[in-house]
């Protein structure tokens, strides 16, 4: 099994557009959306299937029983996250470390399960699609990403190829999505921020020793920057596998909840198809 992970450093660069097109083009049977903060892939890929939804329990949260509490203040003093004020725990700030629970002389604090999101699994006879939604501001996004992948891999044991739409950024959810990936495709844009974010994500992927390739979306918007990206990648020996032109059809596709692949004659769809073929032949076909 090969795991292809699609990342972008930042959202809005066309990551989901590329991922959904790849899933269609490759006829991929097992895929996941690891952008648990703001998942979008199900909008284009769920094909009216109903998912099985399960609560996801990330970290526990502390709870103070006021009838036992003697207001000694020890818990508040020792909480490194400032989550306790006036003998009450704020669920947004509590990281579930358990210090208050251990330190309380009255046993007034207990650690309780807390649903920090929901896991969704779409399944049909020949397809599995795993995704999730993190509850607002509840932390534990890295853990939820790991759960999304675990849920997928459990069902996908026979698949040759797994495609994962990664999460933006470089922090815990991204690190959780990189683990186990065979290949990372970075979708970047020819803007100063696009270049900056690409460099950071390449660095992160390198720290995990994962192979990286790059494709440039909306390449024709700013040719100078496109050339800069190519020169940079060349210098550090990261292959640039293709360019996707700016194309209004992409917005149209998104607004109709469709994959760009369904607009085969569009410039973007053609470019993505070429890129897919390159990736498939050069990186995914078992040699």
């Amino acid at each position: 099994m090969k795991q292809l992970l699609i990342l972008s450093g930042k959202g809005g660069t066309g990551k989901t557009t590329v991922a959904s097109a790849f899933i269609k083009l490759s006829n991929c049977k097992s895929f996941a959306d690891c952008d648990v903060d703001a998942p979008n892939l199900h909008l284009v890929m769920s094909e009216n299937m109903e998912p099985v939804i399960n609560d996801f329990y990330g970290f526990q949260k502390a709870f103070i029983d006021n009838s036992k509490c003697i207001n000694c203040g020890l818990c508040e003093e020792n909480c490194h996250f400032g989550a306790i004020r006036n003998f009450e725990v704020s669920v947004y700030e509590c990281e579930g470390c358990g210090v208050c629970c251990e330190i309380c002389p009255q046993n007034a604090v207990s650690m309780t399960e807390y649903a920090s999101g929901s896991l969704k699994l779409y399944k049909s006879q020949n397809k599995v699609f795993s995704t999730a939604k993190l509850k607002m501001g509840s932390g534990a996004s890295g853990k939820l990403v790991t759960a999304v992948k675990k849920q997928l891999l459990k069902e996908a044991h026979n698949s040759e190829l797994v495609i994962i739409d990664g999460s933006p950024g470089i922090g815990c959810p991204v690190i959780a999505s990189i683990s186990g990936a065979n290949l990372v495709l970075i979708v970047t844009e020819p803007t100063v921020s696009g270049i900056h974010d690409m460099k950071r994500i390449i660095k992160t992927a390198k720290q995990f020793g994962t192979a990286c390739i790059v494709c440039i979306n909306k390449f024709d918007v700013e040719m100078d920057n496109t050339k800069k990206i190519e020169a940079y990648c060349n210098e550090i020996q990261i292959p640039v596998v293709g360019r996707i032109p700016f194309d209004n059809t992409v917005i149209k596709a998104v607004n109709n909840f469709k994959s760009i692949d369904e607009y085969q004659d569009s410039k973007a769809a053609k470019a993505i198809k070429t890129i897919w073929n390159t990736i498939y032949e050069n990186y995914l076909l078992s040699k």
Binding site: C97, M136, G137, S193, R200, K203, T204, E222
Partner: protein, 286 residues
């Protein structure tokens, strides 16, 4: 006045809006008031690419992690049993500490019966403070490979002045870093795109605000004159204040991709963002 600029997802133009608001504030501000831009998107701080601050002062951000004195440790494993994040493991007569996953809760240090654990400082990123025009620019920068940017944001926020206009460019999404960024602000400004993805993301952030009870409004970015705007529809249905519609414009795209600030290059945009700022001041006083 502190304004947080947010979006359900990256790529909606959050940095574009915050940078331009900060620059609009600098010309609007009376001489004794500050204009401050703060980049709390510590995983991908991009504001500096536009504002290009100079006279930069850097300071490291540290977290505390445990370090073990092997001569005192008896291998009782109380620490590793306690640690909720699996940052400690006692293997082959030795305590291993995985710094990257340590949340710095301090528990292992407090509860080690032998007092074998001590605090050690570890740098996870830097804060930069510089100046761009009349705007003070703060920016947090998480080192790659690090898990959480929250400690950086926690160190950034107390540095902000109480007077003048402070624009906080928040991380995308709704994760812990966002919660941290908006805790102390007077007003939250959501940037939304006119697509169905945009609505989906907007509705998620909207949920967050209903919970937090902070005053907020929306600016609709990249609006096409004669296209449907599902985000606008959503705002109207849910009675969300629309602060302004920013038109889609090739010129903005060009300035953006070259790392230029629209307000500083173009009079129309200067007026537009000064107007937005005015409205924000009025809204937040309500």
């Amino acid at each position: 006045m502190k304004i947080a600029v947010l979006s359900g997802k990256g790529g909606t133009g959050k940095t574009f809006v915050s940078v331009n608001l900060a620059c609009a504030a600098e010309s609007a501000a009376q001489s004794n008031l500050n204009s401050v831009y703060v980049d709390c998107d510590v995983e991908e701080p991009n504001g500096n690419l536009f504002l290009k601050p100079t006279n930069i002062k850097k300071s490291g951000v540290n977290v505390t992690v445990p370090v073990v004195d092997n001569t005192k440790c008896t291998g009782c494993r109380k620490c590793s049993d306690f640690c909720k994040y699996n940052a400690l493991a006692y293997v082959k007569d030795r305590l291993l500490i995985f710094n990257e996953v340590c949340h710095s809760c301090g528990g292992c240090i407090i509860f080690c019966p032998q007092k074998a654990l001590k605090e050690r400082q570890r740098e996870i990123g830097v804060i930069e403070e510089g100046i761009s025009g009349k705007t003070t620019v703060f920016s947090g920068n998480l080192n790659t490979g690090e898990v959480s940017g929250v400690p950086i944001i926690k160190e950034l926020l107390p540095k902000l002045p109480d007077n003048g206009s402070v624009i906080i460019d928040c991380p995308p999404g709704s994760a812990c870093t966002v919660m941290e960024s908006i805790r102390q602000v007077d007003y939250c400004l959501l940037v939304a795109e006119p697509t169905l993805f945009g609505v989906h993301n907007l509705s998620m952030v909207y949920e967050l605000f209903k919970l937090l009870k902070k005053p907020f409004g929306v600016v609709l970015n990249k609006c096409l004159a004669d296209e449907e705007n599902p985000s606008e529809q959503f705002c109207k249905e849910n009675r969300i204040t629309i602060i302004e519609k920013i038109p889609y414009d090739k010129e903005i795209g060009r300035l953006n991709s070259q790392g230029l600030v629209a307000v500083r290059e173009n009079g129309t945009y200067k007026e537009l963002f000064e107007r937005i700022l005015d409205k924000l001041v009025k809204e937040s006083l309500q």
